[in-house]
Symmetry: C2
Subunit: 287 residues, 2 copies
């Protein structure tokens, strides 16, 4: 049976690009929300799903984190990092000053905020549910004074005209995607492990004690993030990424100690660190 | 001259409710984005601005944090906590099964996700720029098979019908707002201090050393949050809230030590802790 991978659609999103980079030969199935991608894997409808988890400008994709913490028991199997480039698209060649409305996804709007304030102060911003939907709505709008912020692939798919390339405010814009599945990855020698935990007591000193366990064993933490417990303001889940695989002896030992200090504790998986190939890092993926 | 307070408008948003709770006698001026509220205070157009900074379900309002870290040198003067209640509104009494489209702000949609999947699976979701805009667009839509998720105040302002009250997935839904100004607050004896810092080295052990400085002096941290540095994936700013005022001797000393360990360091202000009055905590504010 052909392998199937769920992604956040419709076609033309960065998630589709990530899915193609991950497994171009698999059957790539679009879903309309991150929650639906994760749920399809959880219910066994598809074998794997690919979702964004972090952007270098915007920070964590909180929908993804919250689903992994609260809703499912899936594991992270792989990570991929993709450069994010936003283009200003239109139906045909127009002057910037003639654009009265801009369609895009709220997170993309926020990543191009300075550009919009500077170059399109007259344009009203209309939020859409995805970058691909933005391009689709823009193309079917009656009248030419409209634009969309979208991907190169969405422009190709919907036949849009590219007015300006790479309009994002920060040039170093990268998104980290993860592949979720029922199992994580075997050891490769260059791995990361993600976990989340919370404390029954509202005492931040407990987090300090957890850090101490890792620091004493020279285990490098690559990320610390807090997410609300959803129970009350000021109570958090902490997400920690560390270097190493959960099956390595030292890591396994410290995880056991940390679990004892936590009221809730969940290993989100061990997986190989993403090492960018030059063409992924700097190149443009066409089509 | 009458005091002026900027807030994230239009009228009918939770930010307006927070502004009324903060200073009902001041001139409350709506702005169309968090960035515009903060910029109005920064340029001296208004004396103070009120913006959401954290929600008990969704987590931090990253726009607010990023503006305070990267864009302006404003200080936090006060915090307020507001219960968030989302209502399903319509033009008139209709059956849930007749609603084909729902307008709301993406964050609100996400806070009512389970309700929408369970009770309105047929309805297409249309994102809007605010909860108030959702109600306005719903009311002016040709046809009655539409709904909006909005506030009690927005329902009153736009004459909408309340179909169902409190449809949010998690009952304990609170938002913390902060008042930003050119100066923070004098000592009151029950204060908090917010700061942010980053490290030039990519070594998470440094954060552990900073925690150690606070732990050794029994200074309680009430919040730790990481935000991307916007320079590269895996480099962060850390936001820390602690108990005490920056002018207290012990706090002032430890802040000096922590500053020496940081490559970038910024005190975001000291301000009184919010103590909910019973009517703010459980009551409904009418009008």
């Amino acid at each position: 049976m052909r392998k199937s991978v769920a992604y956040l659609g419709p076609p033309g999103t960065f998630s589709e690009e990530a899915a193609i980079l991950y497994q171009s030969e698999a059957e790539l199935i679009p879903f309309s929300s991150i929650s639906q991608v994760v749920s399809a894997v959880d219910k066994g409808v598809v074998g794997e799903g690919i979702v964004p988890i972090e952007n270098s400008i915007e920070g964590s994709v909180t929908d993804t984190l919250d689903l992994l913490i609260h809703e499912v028991n899936l594991l992270l199997k792989t990570e991929l990092v993709l450069p994010i480039e936003h283009h200003l698209l239109s139906q045909k060649e127009v002057n910037l000053s003639d654009i009265q409305m801009i369609f895009s996804h709220p997170q993309v709007i926020s990543q191009c905020r300075k550009f919009l304030e500077r170059s399109l102060p007259q344009a009203r911003v209309t939020p859409t549910l995805s970058t691909a939907a933005a391009v689709e709505q823009m193309m079917s709008y009656p009248g030419e004074g409209v634009g969309a912020i979208g991907t190169h692939r969405a422009a190709t798919l919907y036949g849009a005209h590219t007015l300006l390339r790479c309009i994002q405010d920060y040039p170093q814009n990268l998104t980290r995607f993860v592949v979720v599945a029922k199992h994580d990855h075997v050891r490769t020698g260059n791995d990361k492990t993600s976990l989340c935990l919370s404390f029954s007591e509202d005492r931040p000193g407990l987090l300090y004690e957890v850090f101490q366990e890792f620091a004493q064993r020279n285990i490098n933490l690559t990320k610390i993030e807090s997410r609300p417990s959803k129970e009350s303001l000021g109570r958090y889940f902490f997400l920690i990424d560390l270097e190493g695989h959960r099956e390595e002896r030292v890591i396994a030992q410290v995880l056991k100690k940390v679990e004892l200090k936590s009221s809730q504790f969940k290993i989100l998986g061990s997986y190989p660190r993403f090492i960018p190939r030059p063409e992924n890092r700097f190149g443009r993926r066409e089509g």
